[in-house]
Amino acid sequence: MSSAPASHRWRAALFRHETLLLALLATEWCYFNAVGAHFGTLDNTYDIVRHSVEFGLLALVMTPVILTGGIDLSVGSLLGLSAILFGKLWRDAGLSPAAAAACTLGIGALGGGLNATLITELRLPPLIVTLGTYSLFRGLAEAITHGSDTFTNFPPSFLFLGQERWLGLPAQAPIFIVVALGVWLLVHRMTFGRCFRTIGFSPEGARYAGIPVKRRVGLVYVLAGTVSALAAIIYTARLGQARADAGTGYELYAITAVVLGGTSIFGGVGSVHGTLLGIAAIAVLDNGLVHARQPREAAGVLTGVLLLIALTGSVAPKLWAARRRRPAASPPPPASAVSPPLATPPT
């Protein structure tokens, strides 16, 4: 493919998943802007950002997890547990919000570390491990609060983070930008992070190539845990309240955004900028439907349809091209067209 003429490369770029997704996003934006008189306002745009930062953060760190062929179902529950512990540290242990936030990030890292240890040391499948911690973390949050205790009355200086503007932007936006940039650099610009895709493509191959698979895989889960705690802090600041049921279902939004963004659920293929587009597509749809005066349930249906269209749109041309080429020489289809087999637990 590298020797293809310029026009072919241009066409390849045009039909990349990200390009299609960008067109989809533009369509969404134009449509909602046309039917909703207040959709395109700055206030509404900022609300879209505020509402999507937390699940967006989860989607960002979910990307390297899925790239390695894994999955982390526990991020939403860890968000809930972190929010509760943050509240406890602040209200009951008397820490300042900043100190409590620092400890909460540590707790998030520990939670991610638990996933990492079980997955890499005991070689258990990520799906099962994180399904377990999904229940465990939420259960702990509910046990600590007996399902009824909530944490409120945070100082305004802390609530600023979730509700006010800083440099003209929603205060949480710069944090999101920094994390997004960090994860992008990690995955796309550092050899260290590039090996995530290698691992996802073939953990055995990665091991023979001398990649410390265990440590790399462990790292993505610790990162996911830490950023879940960060999302919990922002969530608490936005709502002004920490509850045990914070972030329920966010893991699924995050996974949807990642897959919509073009990352193969089997690992090995995908990008962080794709995930960013996926986050935006979901967030705009969710908000825009209210402005189009459609019921909220429609968001679920349309997110599903969007996901299927995006997946079909990106796979169909490749499959079609492969089929057209077959009668002549019948070479194997290009690797990227076919998802690699389900990754075995890394060793």
């Binding site: 066409r11 045009l14 039909f15 299609l20 067109a23 989809l24 533009a26 369509t27 134009c30 449509y31 909602f32 802007n33 046309a34 039917v35 909703g36 008189a37 207040h38 959709f39 306002t41 206030d43 509404n44 609300d47 505020r50 509402h51 937390e54 909530t150 409120t152 009355n153 609530l159 509700q163 969530y235 936005r238 709502l239 002004g240 309240q241 509850r243 049921d245 914070a246 972030g247 329920t248 279902g249 966010y250 908000n287 209210v290 402005h291 005066r293 019921p295 909220r296 349930e297 679920g300 749109g313 169909a316 041309p317 079609w320």
Partner: protein, 330 residues
Amino acid sequence: MKKIALLLLFAGLALAGCSKSPDTSAPGAKKLTVALLPKSKGNAYFISCRIGAEKAAADLGVDLIFDGPTDTDPAKQNEIVDNWTNLGVDVIAAACENKEGISTALRKAQAKGIKVITYDADAQADARSFFVNQATPDGIGNALMDEAARLCDKSGEYAIITATLTAANQNEWKKYIDERNASFPDMKLVAFRPCDDDKDKAQAEATALLSTYPNLKLIMSICSPGVPGAAEAVKQAGKAGKVKVMGLGLPNENKRYVHEGVTDSVILWNTQDLGNLTVQAAVALVKGTLKPGDTSFTAGKLGTFAIKGDNILLGKPFIFNKGNIDQFDF
């Protein structure tokens, strides 16, 4: 070729979206818009409120948006209120799932000139103008005692099943039941038992009560699982009709026993009236006919309601019995 077709499709969609003039589909230029937020959208209780709300909206000629969370994430209510704020509705009426959390969003709406009232469950006082209060503790206590006395012809032994002995709500109601009991000197409370908000435990307690107090004339439950629990106990003991069952509860979980003649009355408030009054109060607030400091509010055909402080009182609880329980589905 297929790729180009796909791209054209997207481009076409985008153009179709962009070329539409924003004004043509802007909803009802001058019509008031009331946004009604339930705690959760699928809850039968709120669906019942919605029926009343839609009736009020039709009577008053206003647009009603009824939308709420479909999952349990506590941030969802805030997001909906934020969206309505940007949408520029005239008034938001909210049943608050989490008081402190949603107050932030409601205050933001108020800052943008949107009127806010709450119903069913209140927000913080500075985040709304009025709270449509569906039931006061004295209203509930009095209604329970009066109905019990009516069923017993004002004399006889009765027992109360409560949630837990420390439950704040229930103890508040019990206080007013005791006060009201003074007007019925021949009504004698013989037992006050907890059921831990559990139907099976309530059934066991009721069975024990039936054998301990052979002259018992009535069992009153002041927590909702207790009513069907006590009814099942009375039914199994073959004492239906001899020992009356009544209490605070939801129509649906008691319908069967009411029709079988085991349970006589289920007391709650009229949820349809709650929705109706909420919408009427919301519209009146926007039109300026309802102002802070008012002591009463006249809601069309629904009647006149007292206002205590900033609480609009729905008034006396509603009694569901054989004659009317089938009109309610929650």
